[in-house]
Symmetry: D2
Amino acid sequence: MIKVGVNGYGTIGKRVADAVTAQPDMELVGVAKTRPNFEAEAAVRKGYPLYAAIPERSDAFREGGIDLAGEVEDMVMASDVVVDTTPSGIGEQNRELYRQYDTPALFQGGEDADIADVSFNARSNYDAAEDAEFVRVVSCNTTGISRVVAPLDEAFGVEKARVTLIRRGGDPGQTSRGPINDILPDPITIPSHHGPDVNTIFPDLDIDTLGVKVPATLMHLHSFNVTLESEPTAEEVKELLSDEPRLFLVPGSAGIDGTGKLKEFAMDTGRPRGDLWENCIWAESVSMEGDDLYLFQSIHQESDVIPENVDAIRAVLGRETKEDSMALTDERLGVGL
Amino acid sequence: MIKVGVNGYGTIGKRVADAVTAQPDMELVGVAKTRPNFEAEAAVRKGYPLYAAIPERSDAFREGGIDLAGEVEDMVMASDVVVDTTPSGIGEQNRELYRQYDTPALFQGGEDADIADVSFNARSNYDAAEDAEFVRVVSCNTTGISRVVAPLDEAFGVEKARVTLIRRGGDPGQTSRGPINDILPDPITIPSHHGPDVNTIFPDLDIDTLGVKVPATLMHLHSFNVTLESEPTAEEVKELLSDEPRLFLVPGSAGIDGTGKLKEFAMDTGRPRGDLWENCIWAESVSMEGDDLYLFQSIHQESDVIPENVDAIRAVLGRETKEDSMALTDERLGVGL
Amino acid sequence: MIKVGVNGYGTIGKRVADAVTAQPDMELVGVAKTRPNFEAEAAVRKGYPLYAAIPERSDAFREGGIDLAGEVEDMVMASDVVVDTTPSGIGEQNRELYRQYDTPALFQGGEDADIADVSFNARSNYDAAEDAEFVRVVSCNTTGISRVVAPLDEAFGVEKARVTLIRRGGDPGQTSRGPINDILPDPITIPSHHGPDVNTIFPDLDIDTLGVKVPATLMHLHSFNVTLESEPTAEEVKELLSDEPRLFLVPGSAGIDGTGKLKEFAMDTGRPRGDLWENCIWAESVSMEGDDLYLFQSIHQESDVIPENVDAIRAVLGRETKEDSMALTDERLGVGL
Amino acid sequence: MIKVGVNGYGTIGKRVADAVTAQPDMELVGVAKTRPNFEAEAAVRKGYPLYAAIPERSDAFREGGIDLAGEVEDMVMASDVVVDTTPSGIGEQNRELYRQYDTPALFQGGEDADIADVSFNARSNYDAAEDAEFVRVVSCNTTGISRVVAPLDEAFGVEKARVTLIRRGGDPGQTSRGPINDILPDPITIPSHHGPDVNTIFPDLDIDTLGVKVPATLMHLHSFNVTLESEPTAEEVKELLSDEPRLFLVPGSAGIDGTGKLKEFAMDTGRPRGDLWENCIWAESVSMEGDDLYLFQSIHQESDVIPENVDAIRAVLGRETKEDSMALTDERLGVGL
Ligand SMILES: NC(=O)c1ccc[n+]([C@@H]2O[C@H](COP(=O)([O-])OP(=O)(O)OC[C@H]3O[C@@H](n4cnc5c(N)ncnc54)[C@H](O)[C@@H]3O)[C@@H](O)[C@H]2O)c1
Ligand SMILES: NC(=O)c1ccc[n+]([C@@H]2O[C@H](COP(=O)([O-])OP(=O)(O)OC[C@H]3O[C@@H](n4cnc5c(N)ncnc54)[C@H](O)[C@@H]3O)[C@@H](O)[C@H]2O)c1
Ligand SMILES: NC(=O)c1ccc[n+]([C@@H]2O[C@H](COP(=O)([O-])OP(=O)(O)OC[C@H]3O[C@@H](n4cnc5c(N)ncnc54)[C@H](O)[C@@H]3O)[C@@H](O)[C@H]2O)c1
Ligand SMILES: NC(=O)c1ccc[n+]([C@@H]2O[C@H](COP(=O)([O-])OP(=O)(O)OC[C@H]3O[C@@H](n4cnc5c(N)ncnc54)[C@H](O)[C@@H]3O)[C@@H](O)[C@H]2O)c1
C-alpha cells in the first residue's frame, strides 16, 4: 500500500483525498488543513485524519471540537508520497519540508514549472516522472489541452495549435472573485502563458494560446484549432478521440447545450460533486476545414487533474505501467461516461 | 409496497424518483418522459422503467436506442399514486387522466392551488391530505416559509410576517433564462402572490411577501421578518428552530458565506446532486429587535420539496402518522446536516 | 464664486467635478488623482486642472504626457471647500491636510460617521452643516433611505422602518469584484450597519436593515417596509412621494421592468453617463396593507449622492437656504425625469 | 436634404435616429414604433415625429397621451430612404411596403443576406450600394470583422482568418435573456454562420468562425487570428490599424482591463449612451507569431453599425464618395477616441 498525505485541503485537495481512498493500492495517511471550517468538518465526517498545516493554529481546531492526528510534519513523515494542493505559490514554500523528510511530492499547476523535475500528464509523459524528487501535475487547462494534442499528434501530426481559453472567473464557492458583467482579455497580451505551459509536456509543439475570463463558475471552454499535418475526416477525428478514456464526446442527441446541463448529467449519473474528470468535447463541433481541425471542449477545472494526480503517485514511485495505472485509476473513480 | 409513478422527469421529477426508490415502503413503477435526452439516458442507467409521456413520440425513444416500458397511461394504471412533476400548467391538463384511472395524484407548486383538494406541507398540515383525490405540494418558497412559520407560531405566536424573496433567475441547467445583470422587482406589484400561497397552508396568517429576481442559479434567499406575539431571545428562537429536522442552522464557525459554499458543504458530505433538502438558516442572522424576529434563509429550490412529496404519498393514502412518515423520509434520504 | 477642489477622481469624484462645473456659483479649482490612467486622460480632455494626489508619483503623469497644475496641497490651498472622494478610509488620512489649511471638507459615506461633525442629507438636515469643519455626505444607500423617510415621517409619522438592501456586487468598471453566481447575506448578522447610519440623519428613527449582495452592477434595490403612524391610501403616498424632486416614480405604463431598462431610459433622455440622481421608486409597487407601507426602489449608487454633495458645499459655507440650494442644484444638473 | 424614416425604434433604431439628426445633409422624417413605452416617451422629448408601426395600435398611443404624426405608410411615403431597424425577420415582412412606395430601404444584420441586393460595410464596399433597391448593413460582428480584414488584406494579404466570437448574452435592457452562469458553444457546430456572413462582404476570404455565448451584456469580444501572406512586425500592424478612423487601439497605459472600464471611458469623454462606434482593439494584444497575427477586439454591439447605416444612406442614393461620407459621418458623430 502506498501511503499518501494530502497537504492543503481545498478544491483540489479534497478530491485527491477521495480519489486516493478509492484506490486499492493506496492508503490515505491524512490531510493537512489550516482552519477548522466546513471543509474540516466534512473531512472529519469521512474519517480522514486531520493534521494542522500551521502548527500555531492547532488550538483553533481544538476549540472547534476537532481532534487532530498531528501536525503537518507528522503527516509528511508517515507518507510515501505527499500531494501538495495548497494555493499557488505556497507549494514552493513547502518544498523544503518534503525534501527534509526525503518524501517525493506532487505539486499542482499553480506552481511555476521549475518547482519540479518534471511536469506531468499521464497520457502524454507518464514515464518521465519515475524517480523524480518533485513532480508537477499541470493545470486544468494544460491537462485539457494535452489530452487532445497527444492522440492527434500520434495519429495525424500537429503542425500548429491555436487555442482560445475562455476561463471561468472563479470556482462556485469563491464568492469574492469577479468579474460580474464583463468579458476580459486576460492576459491582454498574446500569446498567453498557457502555451509555454503546454510546452513543458510537448517541448516541440507549435502552439499559441489566448486567455479570456468571463462571469461563470462551472467550467472553462476551449475554442480549439489545430492545423494538422494530414487531412482526416471529422468522423475519423471523432473516432480517434472517442477511443481515449479521458475524453467524453458529448453526443448531439443528448440535448446538452452548455456546462449547466453537462454538470446536471454528471449528477444524474451519480458522479460525486458532479465531477467531470474527462474533457467534454462537443461531438457536433468537431469539424475539418482543409487541414484545420476545430472543436469546442469544456473543462471541469475542479476535477480534470484528479485522475492525473492519482497516476502521478504511481508514476513517481515507479509502480505500474502507464496503461495499467490509468486503467486502474479510471476504473476505481468511474471515469468514462 | 406503495406503487408510485412519476409523470414528468425534470428537475423535480428525477429527485422524486430517486427519493421514492430510497423508501422501504415504496416501489417506483417508472417515470414518464417526453424526449429521449440526457435525462432519459440517466434514467435508463439507473434502471428506471421509462414510459412515453406523449405516445406519438414513442418512436423518438426507439430511434435513440431506448426501450420503453409503455405509455403514460400504462404507468398511471399500475400506480397507487402518481406524482405529477410536469411544468407549470401541464399538471392541470393531466388531471383528467388520473381521475379516469381513479389514481390519487400529487401536483407541484407551479399549478394553481385549486387544482387540488388540499395544499400540502408535511410539518404544517400532514393529516389534511388523507383521502384527498388530488394534493398539491406547495412551491419551494412556500415550503421554505411554512417550515419556519409552523414552529414559530406554535411556540411564540405570529402577529405578522413580512418576507422578501430574493429568487434565483433560473435553475443551473436553464441556459435561456435571465437576467444577466439586473435586480428585478418581480412581480413589481406588492404584495406578491407568495403570501396568498402560504395562506393555503396557514389560512389565518397575516403575511406580506415581496418578490425579487436576480442573476444567480443556486438557491433563493429569504429576508425574513416576523413580528411575534411574545418576545423570546434570539437564543430561544435558535433553539426552537434547531430542533426542527428540516431546518439547518448554518453555524457561524463554518466559514460559509453564501450559497456556493453551502452547496460545496453539501457535496463534501456526499449529498446526491449537492441537494439541500433543509431550509438553510444562517445562525448568526437570527436576531430579535423588540418583538421583531429577523433571519436570512437560503432555500434550495430544486430539492426542498422532495421530502414533502414523499410524505404526501403516504399522507394521501392514510399510511403512517405525520411523525412516523417524516422520520422515515428523513432517515432514508439522509435529511439533517 | 465658491472655489471647489475634488480630491480623489474616481466614480464619485468625477461626477462631483462635473456637477460643480455646472453650478453658476461654483468654480472647479481642479481634481487630484493618483495615477495617469484613462480617467486622467478624460479629465484633461474636459480641461480640468489635474493635481498630483501623491506627490512622489508626479513623474508618472509627466511620462504619460499629462501636465499637472500642482500637488494636492496646492489645490487644497486654493479651495474654499474640498470634496474628498477618495476610497473608504483614505479620507480619514487626509483630514489633517484640510485642517492644516483651514479648508472645510466634505467626506463620503465610506468613511466612519465620526470623521465629521455632521452627517448630511440635503432634504433631511441641510442646516445642520452650516459652519461645520467637516461634513460627511452619507452613503448611496443611506441617502436613498433618507429621501423617503423624511417626507413620510412629516406627513404620516413613521413607527418603524424595515429595509432589505439588495446591493450590487460592484460598480460596472470594478472587474475584480464578485460574486459571480451567488446571493450573499452581507453582512450575515442582522441588523446591518445601514440602520445606524440612517440614525446619523434621523436619530430617533426606529429602523432595522438587512444587507444582501448579488451579482449585478447597475443599481441597488431596496425592499422597503414602513409601519406608519397613520393609514393613508397608497394613492396618497404616491402623491406625497411624487412631489419630491429627488424621487422618481417609475410609471407602470413605461414598460420598464428593471435597472437595465431604467438606465436605458436615462440614456435615452440624454443623461450624462446614464446617471439617475433620483431614487427610482416603482409606482406600481407602492402599496398599503393596514398601516404597513411597502415599496421597491432602485438606487443608482454611482450618482444619487452627487446633488447632495453640491448642496453640502453651499450648506457648509452657509450660502443659500436649503430650498434655494436644492432647486438650483436640481435645475443645473437636470434632476427630475 | 435627404429625408430619412426609421422603422422600428429600439436599440439600433434610436441610435440611427440620433445619428441621422446629427448629419448636415439629412433630415429625420420620423420614427415608427409599435408601443407607447419609455422609448416612445424619450422620442417625444427629443421632438421626433412618431408614427404608428402597427396602425391598429394607434389608440394605445393616444391613451398614453402621445400624439402621432401618422402611420408607418405615411412615413415611408415621405422618406427618401427608410432604415428598417425592426427585430430579425420583421424586416422581411416590411419589404413589400417599401417596394410599394419605391423607397430604397436599409435592413439590418438580423435579416437574411438575400433580403437585399447587397450587404454593406462602408470601409469595404461602399460603392456596391449605389442604386440598390435594398441594402443590408451587416451585423455588429460582421462589421467588426470587416473593418479589420479590409486594411489587413490591402496591406499584407490575408491567407486565412480564424475568429472566435465570444458574444454577450443580451443587451443591457434585455432582462429575459440568459445564460446566467454558463459558457455556451453557440452554435455548437463549427464553423458558425458568421464566416459566411463576412463572405457577403469579402467573397473570396478564407475565414472560419466559432461562436460562444456568455453571461455579459456590455460588448462582444473577438479572439482574432489571421494568417497573413507576408510577415509584418506587430508594430507595423498597429500602425496600419491606428490609421483607420473606426478602429480604436486601447493603449496599455490607460489602465483599461475590460469592457466595463472601456464604457466608463466612453462615458467620461461624453459619448451619448456611452456608445463605442469603433472596434476597440487592445493594443497590447496585437502580436505576430511567424505569419500568424493575433489580437483581441471588443465590439459594442449596440452602436458599431450606426456610422455604417449613415454611410449606407448616402451610398444607396449615390451621394458623396466613400471617403467624404465616412469623414462627414465620423466628424458629426464624434467617431475617434
Ligand atoms: N481550483 C482549480 O480550478 C484548480 C484546477 C487545477 C489546479 N489548481 C491548482 O491546485 C492548487 C490548489 O488550488 P485549489 O483551487 O485547490 O485551492 P483552494 O484555495 O481551494 O485550496 C487550497 C487549500 O490549501 C489551504 N492552505 C493554505 N495555505 C496552506 C499551507 N501553508 N499549508 C497547507 N494548506 C494550506 C487552504 O486553506 C485551502 O484549504 C493550486 O496550485 C491551483 O493553481 C486549481
Ligand atoms: N425547479 C424548481 O425550482 C421547482 C421547485 C419547486 C417546484 N417546482 C414545480 O415543479 C414542477 C416541475 O418543475 P421542474 O422544475 O421540475 O420542471 P422541468 O422543466 O425541469 O421538468 C419538467 C419535465 O416534464 C416534462 N414534460 C413536459 N410536458 C410533459 C407532459 N405533457 N407529460 C409529461 N412530462 C412532460 C419535461 O420534458 C420535463 O422533463 C412545476 O410545477 C414547478 O413549478 C419547481
Ligand atoms: N461607488 C459607489 O457606489 C459609492 C456610492 C456612494 C459613496 N461612495 C463613497 O465614495 C467614496 C469614493 O468611492 P468611489 O466609488 O468613488 O471610489 P473609486 O475607487 O472609484 O475612486 C476613488 C479615487 O480616489 C483615488 N485615490 C486613492 N487614494 C487616493 C489618495 N490618497 N488621494 C487622492 N486620491 C486617491 C483612486 O485612485 C480613485 O481614482 C468612498 O468613501 C465610497 O464609499 C461610493
Ligand atoms: N442589438 C444589437 O446588438 C444589434 C446589433 C446589430 C444589429 N442588430 C440588428 O438590428 C435589428 C434591430 O435589432 P434591435 O436590437 O434594435 O432590436 P430591438 O428589439 O431593440 O428594437 C426593435 C424595435 O422594433 C419594434 N418593432 C417590432 N415589430 C415592429 C414592426 N412590425 N414595425 C416596426 N417596429 C417594430 C420593436 O418594438 C422594437 O422597438 C435586428 O435585425 C438585429 O439583428 C442588432
